[in-house]
């Protein structure tokens, strides 16, 4: 039964990295395209792009699943931001971010950047290099969830 479920999950989540310990993390990237219909109403569509252009708004979706028999404790998901993507927001999930390549972490509004003249300024979304979600409670066996953040192609 577990194998059957497992295969089903694999089919539902194309491209999912399958680990021997049966905790999986799938990564999908969508682009938000705004289209205007005949009535002039704007609709935001999420498409799976093969190609993008600077200025495109991307939605990164991370699906995690604990398909194993044991709870997964100290569960942390980290997404290094591609260099060509400017962080925009992560909805209301308030992830930890790094603005120095993954050395230091914190909430974006608590981080500061040292300027060339020694003064400090508040960190901006532009400064973000990594995004991380650290779960307080173990992921129970069989549980799953989704995380998302947005970015803009530089």
């Amino acid at each position: 039964m577990r194998t059957a479920l497992f295969l089903l999950f694999a089919a539902l989540l194309p491209g999912q990295a399958l680990a021997a310990n049966q905790v999986a993390l799938a990564n999908d990237v969508f682009v938000e395209r705004v289209s205007t219909d005949a009535q002039g109403k704007q609709r935001i569509l999420l498409e799976e792009p093969k190609v993008v252009v600077p200025g495109d708004r991307l939605v990164f979706v991370l699906n995690y699943r604990n398909a194993g028999a044991q709870p997964a404790d100290k569960f942390v998901i980290t997404n290094p931001l591609p260099a060509a993507v400017r962080f925009a927001d992560a909805g209301d999930s308030r992830p930890l971010v790094s603005i120095d390549g993954g050395r230091g972490w914190g909430q974006l509004d608590q981080l500061t950047v040292t300027m060339a003249d020694g003064t400090r300024r508040a960190a901006q979304p532009d400064d973000v290099t990594h995004i991380r979600w650290a779960f307080q409670k173990p992921i129970p066996a069989g549980a799953s969830g989704k995380l998302m953040f947005r970015g803009v192609v530089k």
């Binding site: 993390l25 093969k50 200025g55 979706v61 997964a72 100290k74 591609p82 060509a84 650290a134 192609v153």
Partner: protein
């Protein structure tokens, strides 16, 4: 097209971070410019998860998503002349300066053209050539490159600008104060259109070329202003004699006054007033004045001279709105 399964985390987040292994960023470093990520580069995203299912900390990677960056076609044209460029009726080789900037993210060539008959002005300058600057920003037909459509469309890297000179002739029929507008148009060789239009496979790096917000063409206007001046001479004579009358009897003195009035927004250069001494009169030596100041009869540092047959006063360059007054005297023989 599909709906993305977007949702929030099911589980509460730790207030602070626990020590875990980090993955190095897998994305290749890409130079981000004002024009955007270079066309043809790949954006790769991979996330990692670390956890402990009882056997110690384990880290797994997600799948990698690769996105190819298409070429965005964007260009802007800016007039580099801070104000209208002065010209004169019939003048040739009159130059307007423009800057063409590739705002796209790939190397692109741009077709240049001009529009001089769009209206909104008083006359149509006659565009004779377009030159591409050699980099010094100063027009010189000897060192800058003559643009020939279809032959040497300027090639610009992302964010690169080039200075373009539009050379025009001012029609001889224009008058002072007339304005003539010339627009320079730059259009991506790959194609132009509405934002979002794409040209399959024609982008740098093998992707598509997509028309950006500028429509892949740009235009800006520069203008000439005719700055001409006209000279009006008014000559008057006053006769005085020993009888105290104004009768032109022999021995009477005639004082001639010549007022030169320059009108218009321009100026005249090399203006000189020359007047022959009328027959049967004799020039009164040393009688030339300019603006009430006596001038010598010799050709010397001052403006006036007398050569035996005529007086001459060199006024040089006089701007519009100014007058010059010259007087001299003769006696009736």
């Amino acid at each position: 097209m599909m709906k993305a399964p977007v949702g929030g985390a099911k589980h509460q987040l730790l207030p602070s971070c626990s020590a875990i292994a980090l993955l190095a960023a897998l994305a290749l470093p890409m130079q981000a410019q004002a024009a955007g990520t270079r066309a043809g580069s790949t954006i790769s995203n991979t996330a990692s998860a670390s956890f402990d299912t009882g056997g110690g900390s384990t880290t797994i990677n997600s799948n990698q998503v690769d996105l190819l960056v298409d070429e965005l076609l964007d260009v802007t044209v800016d007039s580099s002349n801070p104000a209208d460029v002065p010209t004169t009726p019939g003048a040739t080789g009159q130059v307007l300066t423009f800057s063409v900037t590739n705002n796209g993210n790939g190397v692109e060539n741009f077709v240049l053209s001009t529009i001089a008959n769009a209206g909104g002005d008083n006359y149509d300058p006659v565009v004779t050539q377009i030159y591409i600057d050699n980099g010094d920003g100063v027009f010189d037909a000897g060192t800058d490159t003559l643009y020939t459509p279809g032959a040497n469309e300027p090639e610009l890297d992302p964010d690169e600008s080039v200075t373009v000179f539009v050379v025009a002739t001012t029609p001889g029929t224009v008058v002072d104060g007339n304005r003539g507008i010339v627009s320079l148009v730059a259009a991506a060789v790959t194609g132009t259109g509405d934002p979002g239009d794409s040209f399959a496979g024609m982008g740098e790096g093998g992707g598509d070329a997509v028309v950006g917000s500028t429509g892949a063409d740009g235009t800006d206007a520069g203008a000439f202003i005719v700055s001409a001046a006209t000279v009006t001479l008014v000559k008057s004579a006053v006769v005085t004699n020993t009888l105290g009358t104004a009768d032109p009897i022999p021995g009477a003195t005639i004082t001639y006054t010549i007022v030169a009035t320059v009108a218009g927004s321009g100026s005249v250069s090399g203006l000189a007033i020359t007047d022959n001494i009328p027959a049967d009169t004799s020039y009164v030596a040393g009688s030339i004045t300019l603006g009430g100041v006596a001038q010598s009869d010799a050709v010397d540092a001052d403006a006036g001279d007398y050569n035996g047959t005529r007086i001459n006063v060199a006024l040089g360059t006089v701007a519009g709105g100014q007058t010059r007054t010259v007087t001299f005297r003769t006696t009736i023989d």
